[in-house]
């Protein structure tokens, strides 16, 4: 009756899964992180060789989802180390009390501007700037000068050109909203968004829909200005099917027009493997790991001495004077800003 | 030789209960179960088949108790009201199904199936899909299917219900002759009294879960022992009567002079006058045997073989009679005199419930 082939296939699958399960017996340390975390296998093998322990990676959705799960499971932590709290979520993470302090010897290599937690529960690993990107050829074809800063976006020539993400559903969207708060102040940002709305801003739910849907470089896209990352132009060169002499896009990095997102790592409280956890954090701040950050995660390593790959040296820029609001300010303002924004831009 | 015996078979829960059914059926006999819908005919059939479980009582086949045997081990056959042909199988496979269940050798299956298809005249349609057959053809397939494994008892649950009249009559005769030819013991369920009387060697009338009367068709027709039976056989002329001292029965249409009646004085009876026992004229010498009724013709229907006449007697009693076409009755509204053969009048005693 029941086809024997189906059965055999399924038994085989279960068996192979069982075997895969059974062989994990060497000590390991678990790193909980978000979707976009990436490194090379060789680097993980290095750690295993040095410390005789494997790194198990546990991915738990995007940055917000991952942090939420870490907080929810704080009594029985799912991992030993958590990577991926950024400065917009930092206060929330610290007030939930899920991290314990660790003075890594590598901390002294890192610039003070990145060390936002004085008690070192969260240690900076990398940073990247969220900023506006524009398509160069579109502007040169139109004979229009690309915008230089946020102020230009609300000018008549730039009407109907900008795409932003909904800060309620997108991390770069939130970063950009914070940028405007940082630049125009707690009341001025409302005026800016009112004018931006009047200037026909387009809102998408997430980064992919903006960059691959509406941005002029996408098939079917029409608008030449989009909120993205300062490293995006470099990625455009790196991930292009033909050799590009220059970046097709550029970031707007003038003073006050970008937000610096810093990503932190920390030891989860109640871990049973504190020593291994410390080693993992040291490892992530060490030159070998820092060197891999640019091409795997498309952000800048926290250690300024790290040699950067060619494509970063040539095409990736940093914002000149990025907005750096205190994590507490962000935590206290976030919900109100998002609601106000929703009222002003969407309703 | 008794083939099938039901002893006190009851099932009291559920919507269509049956109560203490007892009957015996000889080998080769056809029993027709007659009754209105909801009288428990189908339930009884399902109990016999083993599709439902009785609360008490037993089913005996050739003196063996079958009550606890599941249906597939009873070797009974059934032709369903909705036929229940297997829609995804061909005519041939439908008929061969029971044989395959007996694990007969293929050659034998082929032979028997072809035999059965020939018997019902469907040889040419063996490979057809049952969905493509006409209603009558489907009935034949169902019959052949139920007969193929040589069942020890065949049950037919209103198998002709869905067909038109002429086809039904034709198939009825065909089924009857096939059953007789194969000498099959059968129970035939129907609510049509003509069908029952034509088919049955014995006819059982059911009402509210009870077997009210079981007799040969002739006896049932001539001697119904219960007003319900009389009514269900289609008799319309039912009068209530009271036995008088010195013979005779008093009814709504006057005193009927029935002397040989075995009635106690003042006993209440139902008087049944069959429609065909009236005549417009009788010979003078026989007058004593007849009772005279005078009334007004209310309806007159010519049906080919006879006239069906309804007349009003005493302003309120309506009686119906079948009269020969050789002597046309008067027109509607006219007065008519009829003579009823008193010896043919049926008297049903009160309290004769089984």
């Amino acid at each position: 009756m029941c086809n024997p082939r189906t059965l055999v296939l399924c038994i085989l699958f279960f068996l192979s899964a069982g075997i895969a399960e059974a062989k994990e017996k060497i000590p390991f340390v678990t790193l909980m992180t978000h979707d976009s975390f990436a490194v090379s296998q060789a680097l993980l093998d290095d750690f295993e060789k040095q410390h005789g322990a494997e790194i198990k990676i546990l991915k738990s959705g995007d940055a917000g989802a991952a942090l939420n799960q870490a907080i929810l499971s704080k009594k029985n932590p799912l991992a030993d180390v958590f990577f991926g709290v950024d400065n917009t979520f930092m206060s929330r993470a610290l007030s939930a009390g899920i991290f314990e302090p660790y003075e890594s010897p590598f901390l002294r290599d890192l610039p003070n501007a990145l060390k936002l937690d004085p008690s070192n529960r969260l240690l900076p690993v990398d940073y990247g700037d969220v900023c506006l990107n524009y398509d160069k050829s579109w502007f040169s074809k139109k004979g229009l000068a690309p915008p230089r800063g946020l102020d230009d976006l609300i000018m008549p020539p730039y009407k109907g050109l900008t795409i932003v993400q909904n800060p309620a559903t997108s991390s770069p969207g939130l970063a950009f909203l914070i940028t405007t708060v940082g630049k125009y102040g707690a009341s001025g940002y409302v005026e800016f968004w009112k004018k931006l709305r009047a200037n026909d801003v387009y809102v998408t739910a997430g980064w992919s829909e903006a960059y691959y849907g509406k941005f002029v470089r996408a098939k079917g896209g029409t608008r030449p200005i989009v909120v993205s990352y300062a490293s995006s132009p470099a990625a455009e060169v790196y991930y292009s099917e033909k050799k590009l002499a220059d970046t097709p896009t550029a970031g707007i990095l003038d003073s006050g027009s970008a937000f610096r997102q810093i990503e932190f790592v920390g030891i989860l409280k109640n871990t049973a493997k504190r020593e291994l956890a410390k080693k993992l954090i040291d490892f992530m701040l060490s030159p070998a790991f820092q060197k891999e950050i640019p091409l795997h995660m498309w952000v800048f390593p926290a250690n300024p001495e790290t040699p950067l790959p060619d494509v970063f040296l040539k095409y990736a820029q940093k914002a000149k004077a990025p907005i750096l609001l205190l994590p507490d300010t962000i935590e206290n303002g976030r919900e109100k800003w998002i609601e106000t924004w929703t009222d002003v831009v969407l309703r | 030789m008794v083939q099938l015996e039901l002893v006190n078979l009851s099932r009291t829960y559920g919507p269509f209960a049956v109560h203490k059914i007892c009957l015996a059926l000889k080998r080769g006999q056809i029993l027709c179960l007659l009754g209105p819908s909801g009288s428990g005919k189908t339930t009884l059939l399902r109990l016999v088949a083993g599709l439902e479980k009785p609360d008490s009582g037993s089913v005996l086949l050739e003196s063996r108790d079958m009550t606890e045997l599941p249906p597939h081990k009873r070797q009974f056959g059934m032709m369903f009201q909705e036929l229940a042909l297997f829609p995804h199988k061909s005519v041939f496979e439908n008929v061969a199904f029971g044989l395959r269940m007996l694990r007969q050798p293929p050659a034998q299956i082929l032979k028997r199936t072809e035999e059965m298809l020939m018997l019902v005249g469907l040889t040419s349609m063996a490979q057809r899909n049952v969905g493509d057959l006409s209603g009558g053809e489907q009935q034949r397939v169902a019959l052949a299917r139920s007969l193929a494994p040589r069942p020890k008892l065949l049950m037919l649950d209103e198998p002709l219900g869905a067909l038109d009249r002429s086809l039904r009559e034709h198939l009825l005769q065909e089924i009857h002759s096939i059953l007789k030819k194969l000498d099959v013991t059968a129970i035939f369920v129907t609510h049509d009294q003509a069908e029952a009387l034509t088919m049955g060697d014995v006819v059982g009338v059911m009402d509210q879960g009870r077997l009210v009367q079981m007799d040969s068709p002739q006896d049932l027709y001539l001697k119904p022992r219960h007003p319900f039976v009389a009514r269900f056989l289609g008799f319309q002329n039912l009068l209530s009567g009271l036995a008088l001292p010195g013979g005779g029965v008093e009814t709504e249409i006057g005193k009927l002079d029935i002397s040989d009646n075995n009635l106690e004085v003042h006993e209440r009876v139902t008087v049944v006058i069959r429609p065909e026992i009236a005549a417009q004229h009788v010979r003078g010498s026989e007058l004593s045997r007849y009772h005279k009724i005078v009334g007004t013709v209310k309806q007159r229907i010519f049906s080919g073989r006879l006239y069906r006449v309804k007349m009003v007697v005493d302003k309120e009693i309506v009686l119906a009679f079948d009269l020969p076409i050789t002597e046309p009755p008067p027109g509607i509204g006219d007065e008519m005199t009829l003579w009823i053969d008193v010896n043919e009048i049926i008297l049903i005693k009160e309290g004769q419930t089984p």
Binding site: N68, G213, E236, Y239, L346 | G131
Partner: protein
């Protein structure tokens, strides 16, 4: 001995019947209710006390009532549109035989597996302001501005809902329809009914159980729609599911997210309870389910026209977006090329997250096959129970079985993380968890597909077989199985498709080293660069092809007929 055993058959049957419900209930208990209750408990009472302050907005403003209303409204409208659009297609598939039918049927199911972002990209490429259709129209009529303005309107995501769910109606209603006796309509026509009258007074009432079952699935699917509304509808529209996502992940208001999740679950439960009641009333028994050769060749010109128009319509609705996707995967900046497909094979930076296409296909197929198997077994048990269940039992359990379909992936994903982390249920990093999660969403489809078919099997067919000497097992093999086989196949196809396309829950439970194809697509889409985008499209096409191949495989695997 033999006799004793058979004697208790009647009681045994009813006792056995009750046991049928145990496997699905156990499964739901462990993998659904336990995680769900854990997460709800933790969100409402993080410190042991009920945290009510974060909920005050739920009742204080009309906003959330508005969201609920919008959710119901769009789901109802989407369902209605899908039924209207797909019914003619279901008729054509139920009644006619034509070349390429199987292919077309499989093609129609493919949208079901596509990740929302990919579908959105396809729709944009087709109907967006600079999409194919607008460009053609603008060139044809020498216009300056686009003609079709669907972008970020209700119509855009309603269209996408139709695109996604067309196949549900096609398969479930079509499958049922093909077993309706043709002569029913014919006899009504003999009685003088016009074609429309026949349809509304004969066909439609008979189809009701299947239409209701399929509509319910579509409704629940649209009710919990997340990505489609978020991306195609734009940020101005929010369903309850979108709101849960927003509250949980960006506002950190877990009590609110949980309350909304509860509302969603409660609403679905009520809806399905009503449906269950309704369904029992309209259950039609078909005396002659003609599954042997229900199809006819196309004969008259009218039939030819009707079938042709339908196929054309399907091709436009379902085929055009898929074709647009395919074009995007082969049209590079330098003309047509397979460079994106080649790129899939290359691990440029030796990342641990790189997954070779063949590995992603293997992962997806592995999860999908196991999930399908689990879903079929659970769905079978549930349907077997529901078919014979007393009214009260079905009234509670039927909606219960459907709940996983309507529970937000985030809530459940969090629940998995919280609840399944300790022995003996230490499944957090188990390779089976994705398959289990997929099976949970898929098995309601198996139930809905099986139930109408199962209920339509006339009992007297089984009786007839029994009287002809078939044992209960034999009866099951020759009567039930051939009729249920199709329904089971439909259930299997959906289970498989759901597993292949599932993203929301997978992202929480899958191990990073064994990503599924949708996950791989998302990884490509989260980095800038035309190569990444092209590879995402290429992977989407591979997903479509793999899914289609899977359908064919399932059709082959399903034994043709039982019995002899």
């Amino acid at each position: 001995m033999d006799r004793d055993l058979d004697g208790c058959g009647f009681e045994m049957k009813s006792r056995l019947h009750t046991w049928l419900v145990l496997p699905p209930l156990l499964f739901l208990g462990i993998f659904y209710f336990y995680p769900l209750i854990s997460i709800l408990f933790l969100s409402f009472m993080p410190e042991g006390a009920f945290e009510i302050t974060k909920l005050y907005k739920l009742v204080r403003t009309g906003y959330y009532a508005g969201v609920l209303w919008f959710t119901v409204w769009q789901a109802a409208l989407s369902t209605l549109l899908t039924v209207i659009v797909a019914l003619p297609g279901a008729y054509v598939f139920a009644r006619f035989d034509f070349k390429g039918k199987v292919l077309l049927q499989n093609l129609a199911t493919i949208p079901f597996v596509l990740p929302t972002v990919v579908t959105a990209a396809a729709f944009h490429a087709l109907l967006g302001p600079r999409g194919l259709v607008n460009m053609i129209l603008m060139r044809l009529f020498h216009l300056e501005t686009p003609v079709i303005h669907l972008d970020q309107t209700v119509w855009f995501f309603l269209l996408a809902h139709v695109f996604y769910n067309y196949t549900v109606i096609l398969r479930i209603v079509g499958g049922f329809w093909s077993r309706l006796p043709k002569n029913l309509g014919e006899s009504a026509r003999m009685l003088g009914a016009s074609d429309t009258r026949v349809f509304f007074s004969i066909t439609l009432p008979l189809l009701k159980p299947a239409i209701l079952a399929a509509s319910l699935l579509v409704f629940v699917f649209c009710f919990t729609s997340f990505g489609v509304v978020l991306i195609l509808g734009g940020p101005r529209f929010a369903t309850v599911e979108v709101e849960i996502y927003r509250q949980a992940l960006h506002l950190f208001n877990l009590p609110m997210a949980s309350a909304l999740a509860l509302i969603q679950i409660g609403f679905t439960f009520g809806l399905i309870a009503v449906y269950t009641k309704l369904e029992r009333k309209v259950a039609v028994s078909l005396t002659l389910p003609d599954s042997h050769s229900p199809h006819q060749k196309i004969q008259t010109p009218q039939e030819c026209f009707f079938v042709g128009v339908n196929i054309l319509w399907m091709a436009i609705l379902l085929g055009a977006p898929l074709m647009a996707l395919f074009l995007q995967s082969v049209l590079t900046e330098e003309g047509p090329s397979l460079v994106y497909y080649a790129g899939l094979l290359e691990n440029k930076i030796a990342s641990i997250l790189y997954v070779a296409p063949i590995a992603a296909i293997a992962n997806s197929l592995g999860y999908a096959l196991v999930a399908t198997l689990i879903a079929l077994v659970l769905g079978w048990f549930s349907a077997a129970f529901l078919v014979g269940a007393k009214k009260q039992g079905a009234l509670i359990l039927d909606p219960l079985f459907m709940l996983p379909l309507s529970t937000s992936a985030i809530t459940l994903g969090f629940g998995f993380v919280i609840a399944l982390d300790e022995p003996p249920l230490n499944l957090r990093s188990s390779i089976f968890l994705p398959a289990i999660a997929h099976a949970m969403v898929a098995f309601p489809f198996v139930i809905r597909s099986l139930l109408p078919a199962w209920r339509s099997i006339p009992q007297n067919l089984r009786d007839a077989a029994a009287l002809l000497g078939a044992s209960p097992l034999r009866t099951w093999c020759v009567i039930d199985w051939p009729i249920l086989r199709r329904a089971l196949l439909v259930g299997a196809v959906f289970a498989f498709a759901i597993s292949m396309g599932e993203f929301g829950a997978t992202v929480f439970v899958v191990r990073p080293q064994t990503p599924t194809m949708p996950l791989a697509i998302f990884r490509y889409l989260s980095h800038p660069g035309s190569l990444n985008y092209g590879q995402a499209m290429a992977m989407s096409c591979l997903l479509m092809i793999t899914t289609a191949a899977g359908f064919l495989f399932l059709q082959k695997m399903m034994p043709r007929s039982g019995g002899f």
